[in-house]
Amino acid sequence: MLARARTAIYVALGALVLLVGVPLLVSGWIVFLLTVAGAKALAVLGVVLLLRGKLLTFGHALYYAVGAYAAGMAVKYLAVREALVLLTLSLLAGVAMSAFLGLLVARYRAVYFALLNLAFSMVLYGILLKFYSVTGGTDGLGIAEPTLAGVRLSGSLLRLAMYELTVVLTTLLVYFTYRFFASPTGYTLRAIRDNEVRVEYMGVSVWRAVYVSYVIAGGLAAVAGGLIALSVGHITPDLAFWSQSGEFVFVAVLGGTGSMLAPAVGSVLFEFVRNYAFELSPYTWQMTLGIVLLLIIFFLPGGVWSLTTLAWRRAGR
């Protein structure tokens, strides 16, 4: 109860600082970087959600791309410009796709689950290249500046609006996920992690819990994709590529699966490190990631987030 109230407060405070404080203090490109990080955090949140049920996916970028392209296509072919509409479309597309593929993957675990998702994401990647005339192939799609709640914005104002929108959406969806974990299905997912047989002997459907979680995770990633499409303004099939999925997994582990806020923290951390480290030495970039991952696996299984809890303990909580 207490912990819950506390988390709620932190979420609220955090959102406030982010919405008002940050844009006043930092430079334009950092605001943009935070927008990207915040959006991706949702996809990572999906990965974390599944990890709670011991389900590791190397293909979550699939839904990220679906969300992005749903928005992109709507702009290009349906001439929709309203960000809120576009994001709804992203969500629907992602949920539809995960609801469909979920029928197949929800019965798999471990390696199969991880790589079936990978395979499907590569299929989508292939499709995006293949239907070149529609998707623009690897050249991708340019996305015209959206309107927000009917208001036409451009330039730095639009960037700011996109940032605020991202913060709000991310906060809401983090809260939703938080509720999900506290719900019977959320606990079932944790139960599945330990003992599927007993879950069935409680009269609870393991398949359903996994399926529902998978669909939610897909929806989260799709919204992330939609946000990225709108804020970056150009989408390419790379969004669906395995390395993108790998990045989500990495950030999930970096942040830690302990808290719903961890993905956001991990995501911001990652984007910053990438934008500097990448320039320092592109050849050792992946190596850096790999080494960090190793260190986390062996010395910080709870991810960066567990440091904060440690700090609280120190502070005598």
């Binding site: 430079s27 334009g28 490109w29 943009f32 970087l33 990207v36 292939g126 290249l129 293949k130 070149y132 623009g136 192939g137 690897t138 050249d139 991708g140 340019g142 451009s154 330039g155 990225i228 970056v232 303004g233 150009h234 989408i235 390419t236 790379d238 969004l239 590529f241 993108q244 984007e271 990438r274 934008n275 990448f278 320039e279 592109p282 050849y283 970039w285």
Partner: protein
């Protein structure tokens, strides 16, 4: 004249030029202490070897040269090197960092067509002068206007049209053509331009096959078998890098060159490993040039500088990415100098952009004209040749070189490329 002697001339000439230029001009009014220019190219990943690294090296030596000659308008040029690799969101974030954080005066770069399409809107939003350095897609200025974006090299249409004209000049009696191209935008675009041009230039030609192996597939035995079965007169491919080397190697070993004429439109630094016998183009007059172009002093100087710092194969070949980058730098320099003249003081970005519109300037690749795309898009001649192995030099060299003039392989301003081809190349001057 023989290569050796031409090389010697190049050396002498460039030494002369160095001596001549090392006097530094005084900066004009309102000039900044330095001119920060972002240099963006693939420093990692498969495209870094054939295109990215050569671009970076070229930028390096040519900026050194410019500074030795007193910089631009007396201001020293300071490059900010960054890697193009990564998904679009990373590239765009990076662009914003360069513009808002590094506060660069201009961004030069981008090899991937995807990035060349992703960046312009951001460039316009942030009002940063941006010169695209090596990408091929013709969509950039045919689909939208971008006041702050320029491209000082020709788009890929010259490669397809040039290939078609070259093939027909060597084999007027072509009956059938087949395409094997990587399954992504570059492959699709290249094939589209080539086969449409062939159809126009020789209406009775038949397209017998179009294969789309996936990018970096590496394994082409099935595709090659199929081509050996179909025996088309001409096989067109837009492969590059490792895929090109692999395909050419496997094709050579299985005698595809005996059955069909194989033409490639995009050779980079990979040229040293490509099996001889292939017809090659390299995206403009760069590695492959006509004898009179070899006399171009800027070209000699560039080759010398490049050799001094990074070494060079005996055939003087440098990948197009490098030449294209120098074109961009020359364009930037010419634009600034013109803008300074007109403004009488240090110009604003808008003034520089205005100056670059429709500008003409000299480069190692010859005289560049910003002729199309409303003055934002350069046109270049298309050079093609047959790859031959030279036992004396121990490297691949070029024979049967043909240069197709810029106005012969580029659409006139304001006309979309494919439309121009389908309407039978109106206004082409060959």
């Amino acid at each position: 004249m023989s290569r050796q002697s031409s090389m010697r001339c190049a050396l002498v000439a460039s030494v002369g030029l160095l001596a001549l230029h090392s006097v530094s001009a005084a900066p004009v009014a309102g000039a900044p202490s330095e001119l920060k220019v972002a240099v963006v190219a693939f420093l990692s990943g498969p495209a870094s070897g054939p295109f990215g690294i050569p671009s970076r090296n070229a930028a390096d030596v040519w900026i050194e040269k410019i500074n030795r000659e007193g910089g631009i308008g007396g201001v020293k040029v300071v490059p900010v090197f960054t890697d193009e690799a990564g998904p679009a969101d990373k590239v765009v974030t990076e662009f914003r960092r360069l513009a808002l954080d590094e506060k660069v005066s201009a961004v030069i770069g981008y090899i991937s067509s995807a990035n060349c399409l992703a960046v312009p809107p951001v460039a316009d939003e942030l009002k940063v002068l941006t010169i695209e350095s090596d990408c091929g897609t013709d969509r950039v200025f045919e689909e939208a206007k971008h006041p702050y974006v320029f491209r000082t090299h020709a788009h890929t249409v010259i490669d397809g049209v040039g290939a078609a004209r070259y093939v027909l000049s060597l084999h007027p009696e072509v009956k059938t053509i087949a395409g094997i191209n990587q399954d992504y935008a570059w492959g699709r675009d290249s094939w589209e331009v080539f086969q449409r041009s062939m159809r126009k230039l020789k209406p009775d030609v038949q397209v017998v096959d179009a294969m789309w192996p996936k990018l970096f597939a590496g394994e082409y035995s099935a595709e090659i078998s199929k081509l050996l079965v179909e025996k088309p007169t001409v096989v067109f491919t837009s492969f590059w890098g490792g895929d090109l080397v692999t395909f050419a190697g496997q094709a050579k070993a299985r005698g595809l060159f005996d059955e069909s004429v194989v033409v490639v439109n995009n050779t980079g630094s990979d040229i040293k490993d490509i099996a001889p016998g292939v017809l090659i183009g390299s995206r403009g007059p760069h590695g492959i040039v006509s004898p009179e172009m070899e006399k171009n002093p800027l070209r000699k100087e560039f080759i010398t500088l490049y050799r001094q710092k990074y070494g060079l194969a005996k055939n003087d070949y440098i990948a197009h990415g490098a030449y294209h980058f120098v074109q961009a730098l020359q364009g930037l320099r010419a634009a600034y100098e013109k803008a300074i003249k007109t403004a009488g003081r240090w110009p604003t970005t808008e003034q520089v952009a205005a100056a670059l519109e429709g500008l003409e300037f000299d480069t190692p690749s010859g005289h560049i004209v910003m002729a199309i795309g409303g003055g934002h898009q350069a046109i270049e001649p298309a050079g093609y040749a047959i790859l031959k192995f030279d036992p004396a030099l121990g490297v691949n060299v070029f024979s049967d070189i043909r240069m197709f003039p810029a106005r012969c392989v580029n659409p006139p301003d304001g006309m979309k490329s494919l439309e121009w081809i389908d309407r039978g190349f109106p206004g082409a001057q060959c």
